[in-house]
């Protein structure tokens, strides 16, 4: 049976297949999330939601890079109070688990938004920790083990659903942050968010993004993301969701072999919202060819010495 091959469970969540829509891609409305789910996603993550509405940065917010995409949207979102209605509606139309991505500028804000998301029906919460800490302008929460553990601890205490922490790759040693998140109570980790990057136009000699700097996604970051997953899996038992540049089944399989239990897909959705189904078929064919009975059996196999 197909679902047997691809079905996975981690952190108390059961997914029919291990491909998940990454946060920030078509993640505003229930209708969009439903369309992605119809495209074969095993779970979907919403756009990151904060305590109050944010309009985001002016355009240009997206610019193409050599082998990927740069974005600096500026976390546009309607705020959790308005978005709770969308979560409730989404729960009535979705047949796959709904993860709500949450951001904040303090531990209390994270905890409060997360608990409202769960109240509205989120099956899990994913913390986007790539935003600056109010008290420490400049430094991202996800770059400081101290801030990170404070945020995770407070949020964990506020929700009774699986808590996933999405790590930033913009650190010297991602395992230090992984450890902080795990010790503070994270049930799973997503690795990784976008890589800090920029683009400059030579004619006008100006940065192109209105925010000057943004996050790089797409094939360009896959090798970095893969290394991050491998590093974390080598040291910890925690379930990992691999994310970064996954475009085809081979990319996904690489992440499983590095130690991921599931994968999130973002940028590749632009070209094909059936990318989840296509990747699942590819994984299935691979597993059959290699005589494995389940995707679970190949998780971490690249660590064999």
């Amino acid at each position: 049976m197909e679902s047997n091959l691809l079905g996975i469970s981690f952190a108390g969540l059961s997914l029919e297949n291990p491909t998940i829509l990454a946060s920030g891609i078509l993640g505003y409305t229930a209708e969009s999330l439903k369309r992605v789910a119809k495209g074969g996603a095993g779970a979907v993550v919403t756009k990151s939601i904060g305590a109050s509405p944010r309009a985001g940065y002016p355009n240009p917010t997206v610019v193409q890079a050599e082998a990927g995409l740069l974005n600096a949207m500026g976390l546009p979102n309607p705020g959790i109070d308005v978005y709770s209605e969308e979560i409730k509606y989404a729960k009535t139309v979705l047949r796959v688990p709904l993860f709500v991505s949450v951001f904040g500028y303090s531990a209390d804000e994270y905890a409060s938004v997360a608990s409202k998301a769960v109240e509205a029906g989120a099956d899990a919460v994913e913390l986007n920790v790539s935003c600056p800490h109010v008290k420490q302008t400049g430094a991202e929460i996800g770059q400081s083990p101290k801030f990170l553990s404070e945020v995770v601890e407070k949020t964990k205490a506020a929700v009774n659903k699986p808590l996933i922490v999405k790590l930033s790759p913009n650190v010297a040693d991602i395992t230090v942050l992984a450890q902080a998140a795990i010790e503070a109570g994270a049930d799973a980790l997503t690795a990784v968010n976008t890589l800090k990057a920029m683009a400059i136009d030579t004619e006008t000699m100006m940065p192109i993004l209105s925010n000057v700097k943004g996050g790089l996604s797409g094939p360009a970051i896959k090798p970095v993301a893969l290394r991050c997953v491998f590093d974390i899996a080598e040291q910890f038992e925690v379930p990992i969701i691999g994310c970064g540049g996954i475009t085809d089944w081979r990319d996904a399989v690489e992440f499983f072999l590095a130690g991921a239990s599931a994968v999130e897909i973002g940028t590749a959705v632009a070209d094909d919202d059936e990318v989840f189904r296509t990747i699942c078929r590819g994984i299935e064919t691979y597993l059959r060819k290699k005589h494995y009975g389940s995707v679970k059996e190949i998780v971490g196999l690249a660590h064999r010495k």
Binding site: G24, I25, L26, G27, Y28, T29, E31, S32, K34, R35, K47, P53, R54, A55, G56, P58, N59, P60, T61, V62, V63, Q64, A65, E66, A67, G68, L69, N71, M73, P76, N77, P78, G79, V82, Y83, D201, E203, T204, M206, I208, S210, G218, P219, T247, G266, T267, A268, V269, A270, D271, D273
Partner: protein, 269 residues
């Protein structure tokens, strides 16, 4: 995935033409947009200002034109631009109007007339008859009347103004109703203010007529990723901006009613 049309190209504005007190047409060279089809749009980067979606109004030997109404910061900035100004171009994006034969009717309001002029130019030689209904607030704001007159051979162009300074004094929907009841059309195309589009959709639905309508929503990425432009399950930047009557039926609860604002919340159109 990187694609040629999504790469930003820097190009100079080579010509600026005043169309009306509030609308100017800007022309630039771009190889890829030079091959665009009617209905497609560009993301135009105004360095240091903004990046905005604009429908392609004409392509001619690698020259690409957009007609822009001054409504806010970016578009007012454009109205102060002269030939020689550098802009960045991404695109062409989106789908296009499907060419129809036989008798076609185009209904344009405001700058929505721009992509329809492009379409009319392509269709004129291929259709049995091409009729155009254009509406504006006042005479000065009726766009491209001379060009449309040439394409539609006089009596098939109907203009309306709200103040009666030119053509009929009424909204476009009034002569449209009469036309639809009197004549048979194989396809109706429309672009303009969404309340107008919605009204036209209701009129063609009542009469079971085919329709293609071009819609506008907030655009950021232009490539179907960010979700800013969604209506129902559709991404206006990628699945649209042109939608068929069947698709419009699926989004009838949002058409002319609500859209996503900059913060992703639902606001009135």
């Amino acid at each position: 995935m990187p694609t040629a049309n999504n790469a930003i190209r820097m190009t100079e504005i080579v010509n600026v033409r005043t169309e009306s007190p509030t609308v100017k047409t800007f022309t630039f060279t771009d190889r890829l947009c030079g091959k665009a089809k009617p209905g497609q749009f560009v993301m135009l980067w105004l360095p240091g200002i903004d990046e905005i979606p604009l429908s392609i109004m004409d392509v001619n030997n690698g020259l690409v034109s957009v007609s822009v109404k001054a409504v806010g910061d970016a578009t007012r900035h454009m109205h102060n631009m002269e030939a020689g100004t550098l802009v960045g171009v991404r695109g062409p994006f989106g789908n296009s109007f499907i060419e129809s034969r036989g008798r076609v009717l185009l209904v344009g309001g405001g700058t929505g007339t721009a992509p329809l002029l492009f379409l009319a130019k392509q269709l004129s030689a291929k259709t049995e008859r091409l009729s155009f209904v254009e509406g504006a607030k006042t005479k000065d704001e009726l766009l491209f009347v001379r060009e449309l007159d040439g394409i539609c051979s006089g009596k098939n162009l109907i203009t309306t103004t709200e103040d009666g300074t030119a053509g009929l004094q009424c909204l476009v929907t009034q002569p449209l109703g009469e036309l639809l009841d009197k004549e048979r059309f194989d396809m109706i195309y429309t672009c303009g203010p969404e309340v107008m589009v919605k009204k036209i959709f209701e009129m063609t639905e009542q009469r079971k007529l085919p329709l293609e309508a071009s819609l506008e929503r907030l655009m950021r990425c232009g490539i179907g990723l960010c979700g800013s432009c969604v209506i129902g399950k559709y991404r206006v930047c990628r699945d649209g901006p042109v939608f068929t009557a069947a698709q419009l039926r699926e989004v009838a609860d949002e058409l002319g009613i609500s859209k996503l604002g900059f913060d992703g919340s639902r606001i009135p159109v």
